[in-house]
């Protein structure tokens, strides 16, 4: 069965909200795997730490597979040490999002996150030979590349299918910069925006969103209408990236579409109703602008 997963929360949510989000997902979301952990900014890690064990416990009890996601950008020794601690925890699988963590995972089963550059068969084969047990492909890959990778891979390949697109990561904190602060004294202003802070052009066109060190799309990725085509092309799993919207309902829409209980068009209409302010996008899959939305008639899988 095609797996559905919940990606790590990109946003600096209140620890309580973060915990309750996972508690509810554990009970109600038709999700197989949950990727857990801070991928954007190491400074946020202490906030959710007190709830980690309880969340993992609850997810496991609900039958979910739990994977710990690592930081997308390891920039200094302190962050490297945090990653060593992460790899030493009792959870069996860590998802690598920066090459720097791979030496820590030698000989241990691990998976490859969407922040690693996996563009071709040789790269995927290299990682698989070193013990990777799964890979979530980078968001800018066109469907032609995804299909080729899925066909050649000896490990399950997953694709981001929902959420704001992670477009860039920097050593600079843009949230701090907007508030006239620096990263070192950021006052955690990123926590004020549950889904990132909107960035418009000078003419008022919605353009991007910032989330601390990360830049996200202002559109919401939805591959609902491409799920079955990608599944036939060999994609083994789809990842939903948490948003402020009702993720349990989002997950049900994806699960029902995958299982062909509802049609993709109907599901996408329901999704739009859950995200009234956000345009949907799927352009990367079509080898075009990631912010655009194409009709699946134009999808090329070979």
């Amino acid at each position: 069965m095609t797996a559905l997963s919940l990606g790590p929360v990109f946003f600096h949510w209140e620890p309580q909200r973060w915990r309750d989000f996972y508690f509810r997902a554990a009970e109600e979301a038709p999700i197989d795997t949950v990727y857990l952990g801070e991928v954007v900014c190491a400074k946020r890690m202490p906030f959710t730490a007190p709830h980690f064990d309880a969340v993992i416990e609850r997810l496991k009890r609900a039958g979910k597979r739990v994977v710990l996601s690592s930081l997308a950008l390891i920039g200094n020794e302190r962050e490297a040490q945090l990653m060593r601690d992460l790899c030493a925890t009792a959870v069996p699988v860590v998802e690598a999002n920066d090459i720097g963590i791979l030496p820590l995972l030698t000989g241990k089963p691990h998976s490859l996150g969407p922040f690693l550059n996996i563009y071709n068969e040789s790269t995927l084969a290299f990682f698989a030979a070193r013990g990777a047990i799964g890979a979530c492909l980078p968001p800018e890959l066109p469907a032609t590349s995804i299909a080729r990778l899925a066909a050649s891979a000896s490990i399950p390949v997953e694709v981001l299918a929902f959420g704001r697109l992670p477009l860039a990561i920097s050593a600079r904190c843009f949230h701090a910069r907007v508030h006239g602060l620096h990263k070192d004294g950021c006052q955690f202003v990123c926590g004020r925006d549950a889904e990132g802070l909107a960035v418009d052009t000078l003419e008022g066109e919605p353009f991007l969103a910032i989330n601390g060190l990360q830049t996200l799309s202002c559109t919401c990725l939805s591959l609902l209408r491409e799920l079955l085509g990608l599944k036939r092309a060999g994609v083994a799993g789809f990842r939903l990236s948490p948003m402020a919207a009702d993720m349990v309902r989002v997950a049900r829409l994806f699960r029902d579409t995958l299982d062909e209980r509802i049609g993709a068009e109907e599901a996408e209409e329901a999704l739009k109703a859950l995200l009234p302010q956000m345009p949907l996008a799927n352009g990367f899959l079509y080898g075009e602008e990631g912010r655009r939305r194409f009709h699946p008639d134009h999808l090329r899988l070979e």
Binding site: P103, N117, S122, T123, S170, A171, V178, V199, E289, G290
Partner: protein, 328 residues
């Protein structure tokens, strides 16, 4: 410290050589390199001639094959590496894991440099590339402070090369999809960022606006110099306030901190700008040659030469970028 200069054309190559570059980096005229712009780069014959010229003067040539090979078409990138090896390049600059693996296995004598596009930002990542592929030099991402570079050099078994001058990425290189999100063309796949083919300038009342992929990146009043709309150097609105949100349209210039970079153990200084003309390459390389020679001779860079040098920066203000802590 070695001075590594860019060359987008044979003319720029000769200019860099004459101006005193120790090494020159360039790419083939196709999608295998991260400056895949119309009218730029080298054919195999041009590369052969360039290598001949450089080797006669005991200078080096590095060939950048630093985009990420497309699934199903990896042979194109592998052929570029093979051609560079055959023609006698002193090193290839690679970013992709699969291509590094190919080069290490099939061309074991070829010296491998890790491109900035691989964004190896920490000692653990660098050690990985050194151990897995025998990488000998790493071009560091433009996100590290001088202090972090020094710490890193103390703990890795390879040389490091850092950017000294030119355009500066605000985001971790090789992991940025902003350009493809807005234009469909990305550095990783196409070798371009904010490509000229998607740029327009339009007059709106008294102002000139620059657009990328149809979106306004900046607006200039009459008399204001209109810059190129590189996405992360644009002016955007957050909470009703317009600002250079990601980065001002600044050039990196490390002229004032060369002694610090040398003390941090940096092996090579890189000038950005394979897309720039011969005159630019000649003047920047000559200026840096002077600064490095002065540093080697006297242990420091004379203040007035660092200041004189400022006028070379793109008509914009300059920054030491992430090398200074407060950039973050």
């Amino acid at each position: 410290m070695e001075l590594v200069a860019p060359a987008g054309t044979p003319a720029a190559f000769r200019a860099a050589l004459a101006a005193g570059a120790d090494a020159i980096y360039l790419g083939f005229r196709d999608e295998t390199n991260a400056r895949n712009f119309p009218g730029l780069n080298f054919s195999a014959d041009e590369l052969k001639e360039a290598i001949g010229l450089a080797h006669r003067e005991r200078r080096k040539v590095y060939v950048a094959v630093n985009t990420f090979p497309r699934a199903g078409d990896e042979a194109i990138w592998q052929r570029a590496v093979a051609a560079a090896a055959e023609l006698g390049a002193d090193a290839v600059i690679l970013a992709d894991i699969g291509l590094l693996d190919y080069a290490a296995q099939r061309h074991p004598g070829l010296r491998l440099h890790l491109s900035v596009q691989a964004a190896a930002s920490h000692a653990d990542a660098i050690r990985f590339y050194a151990e897995a592929f025998g990488v000998r030099r790493v071009v560091l991402p433009r996100v590290l402070t001088v202090e972090e570079i020094a710490a890193l050099n103390a703990s890795v078994p390879v040389e490091t090369e850092v950017f000294a001058f030119g355009g500066m990425c605000t985001m971790a290189e090789g992991r940025c999809f902003l350009s493809s999100y807005v234009t469909g063309r990305s550095p990783n796949i196409w070798g371009v960022c904010s490509p000229a083919s998607h740029v327009r300038y339009e007059t709106r009342g008294d102002a000139l606006v620059s657009l990328l992929g149809g979106s306004v990146i900046n607006r200039f009043q009459q008399g204001e110099a209109a810059g190129y709309p590189t996405l992360c150097k644009g002016r955007f609105v957050v909470d009703g306030r317009a600002s250079y949100l990601f980065e001002e349209p600044v050039s990196l210039n490390a002229a004032g901190i060369l002694a610090e970079l040398r003390a941090a153990g940096v092996a090579a200084l890189k000038i950005e700008g394979r897309q720039r003309g011969r005159a630019y390459v000649a003047s920047v390389v000559a200026a840096y040659r002077g600064l490095i020679d002065a540093l080697e001779r006297e242990g420091s860079v004379p203040r007035e030469s660092a200041i004189l040098f400022d006028r070379l920066a793109e008509g914009h203000s300059e920054t030491t970028g992430a090398y200074g802590k407060r950039w973050r």
